[in-house]
Symmetry: C2
Subunit: 380 residues, 2 copies
């Protein structure tokens, strides 16, 4: 990826000895855009990065990330530590933009700054154009595998990596995602493309409904490949969709990633809210796990979403199989076909609300194991 160097080293924050400190450094100041957690208990590096990026008017020279310690619920000391970490990393980067900072791991414990300092020094020394996979490894916590993706858009390339275990993620399930592209694009349009892409991907996956203290998605655009073309926004969406699906598939006990597509809503916001409610419903998630075409649970969840719907016009398709029409189950032998769709690792639920023309989607996954053995195998 032209315009960037990457590193990922093991410095001892993680007891396991795995890589735990990563850096991306731009050859020249790059356009940057980020989406941060909206959690009110946001960790120190989130607040610090938000301030640094705003102060630098969307120009960044890189990011330094540690795993193994979230620097969250660490008070004023946490903020000082995050700033110090960014400042040290900035020595390896050009001037003219912000060195951002992110953390993930245990919360409530101060960053071991001596160890972190050694890590930043080692990562600074290890930076190389080919170090992206080392960086991608250094941001992982409980993930079972590296999560990377790559796309092209005209002459530009995009590479991205992410971390976070899906649905039944241990502890905070922090999601971090970093994208580097050689497209030339100003911070304003980059931010709009990122927010649009997030709305349909990272902000439309439901894990366990909680947003972590440390979530952050960052895109850096070096401009080395010339102007971003018309396909850039679509390529960014597609890249983040790929990474988001990897997050879901990587969750413990996840066997099905299901696109919940809501149609016929009064507004796009209501469509999204209904899709989210369905995707978050434990009863729906256990039905997904059991490949049980339990349409009642799905419609019941939609009914709870506080959105306009017409019970007499509600409809449901499981994959290509119509299951409910005009508010009642279709007659005929749909059940075996619907069950077969639900055996697939990825499929779609299409829920028509009958209240308008707006659509929206969410990605859901299954809720598994014992919870499932009680719920999914049961029909009253």
């Amino acid at each position: 990826m032209d315009g960037f160097r990457f590193a990922g080293v093991a410095c001892g924050i993680k007891a396991s000895g795995a890589r735990d400190l990563g850096m991306i450094v731009c050859d020249r100041p790059a356009s940057a855009a980020a989406v941060f957690t909206r959690n009110k208990m946001a960790a120190a590096p989130v607040g610090v990065s938000r301030q640094l990026l705003a102060a630098a008017s969307g120009r960044a020279v890189g990011v330094v990330v540690n795993s193994g310690n979230a620097n969250a619920a660490t008070g004023r000391r946490g903020e000082r530590d995050a700033r110090a970490m960014a400042k040290q990393a900035a020595r390896a980067a050009p001037r003219g933009g912000a060195m951002l900072v992110a953390s993930t791991g245990v919360i409530g414990a101060p960053l071991p700054m001596e160890v972190v300092g050694r890590g930043v020094a080692a990562a600074s020394a290890a930076l190389s154009p080919g170090g992206f996979h080392d960086f991608a490894d250094a941001i992982l916590t409980t993930d079972r595998a590296r999560k990377v993706a790559e796309r092209t858009a005209g002459g530009a390339r995009l590479v991205g990596c992410t971390k976070g275990a899906g649905m039944i993620a241990p502890d905070m399930a922090t999601t971090l995602s970093f994208v580097a592209t050689d497209a030339a694009i100003a911070p304003g349009p980059l931010g709009r493309a990122l927010r649009a892409a997030c709305a349909g991907t990272y902000n439309a996956i439901t894990v366990d409904g909680d947003t972590s203290t440390n979530d952050m998605i960052l895109v850096l655009a070096s401009g080395a490949a010339g102007p971003a073309g018309r396909g850039f926004a679509a390529a960014l969406f597609d890249l983040l969709d790929d990474l988001a699906r990897q997050l879901m598939r990587g969750g413990e006990g996840v066997h099905h990633v299901v696109t919940v597509q809501v149609t016929g809503a009064r507004t796009a916001a209501e469509a999204r809210r209904a899709a989210r409610r369905i995707a978050n419903s434990p009863l729906v998630k256990t039905a997904i796990a059991g490949a049980d075409p339990n349409w009642g649970r799905i419609l019941c969840a939609a009914g709870n979403a506080e959105v306009a719907l017409d019970p007499a016009r509600v409809a449901l398709k499981i994959g290509e199989v119509p299951v409910v029409r005009r508010g009642a189950p279709v007659t005929g032998a749909w059940e075996a076909a619907a069950r077969a769709v639900m055996q697939r690792p990825e499929y779609e639920l299409v829920v028509e609300l009958g209240a308008g023309r707006a659509t929206g989607r969410y990605l859901a996954c299954d809720l598994s194991h014992e919870y499932v053995s009680i719920n999914a195998d049961y029909r009253s």
Copy 2:
């Protein structure tokens, strides 16, 4: 209970042969108040009972309830069936008020009206002042035991029963609750007392976050014992609290019922919203199951509740043990003590938001088994 007769019979709606049709009949028209599900996919009997009660200006002569079939997602036929069922039951009751109707069980299948008709006839013949426990049994579905409670308020008595399996309830987890009292109280004040009691009990328990298509809570007041005194509202609250806790404890795999008490909120609504968010968080629920004083999960859930909070003033007590003060874990050996509290079958989490003086509560329970074995035993 003066002024009422009760019955519960087995008529064959349930394949198991268990009691599946219950009736309460008032000697004279009684004051009635009800709370119905807000689910937009509400079942036929919910709409019919709401209309009948409104048309009768809060006077009722009884209720007929079947289990085994929810009469939900059954279209116009469902409404006709619910009305027919109520009409037949009304023959056993005096004139001058509504005969209400409720159903719980499988959804999407029409009521077997011939069977139901035989059941209503049998129940009408079986009505007796001592039949309350038969009635309480006839409303159960997957519950493992009868759920009843009794209170007194001055010279008045209240008896109540409920149904619904807790947290990981199979299918719709419909909640029904019926209370009969001999207090004399007009429908208006009775409704206010019921709504106030529900806000802190039935509407403050979180099961799996879904509201069923059939939920209904009904109170009938015969007036046989003379005017309801000042203690009536408190006794009704206490009775519903008892029944709601029985619902939670009765859930599959529930070992802990936890009162999430939020203090220091800007408004009561925000306090309730934060308490609900904490109580609904799968990460918090698995921590409860594992008796793991994982304060980070609790504060993270509060941070996601979209309420005002001051991260520097947030505090947490687990039972009587202070765990977080001024946004950071307390120093010293609190962990063993907090863990001991969390072994108890019932305890309290007190979360201070540091943003005001309002309070609110929710009841939570644990999320158990395999989901737990992955989540609760783990600390990153």
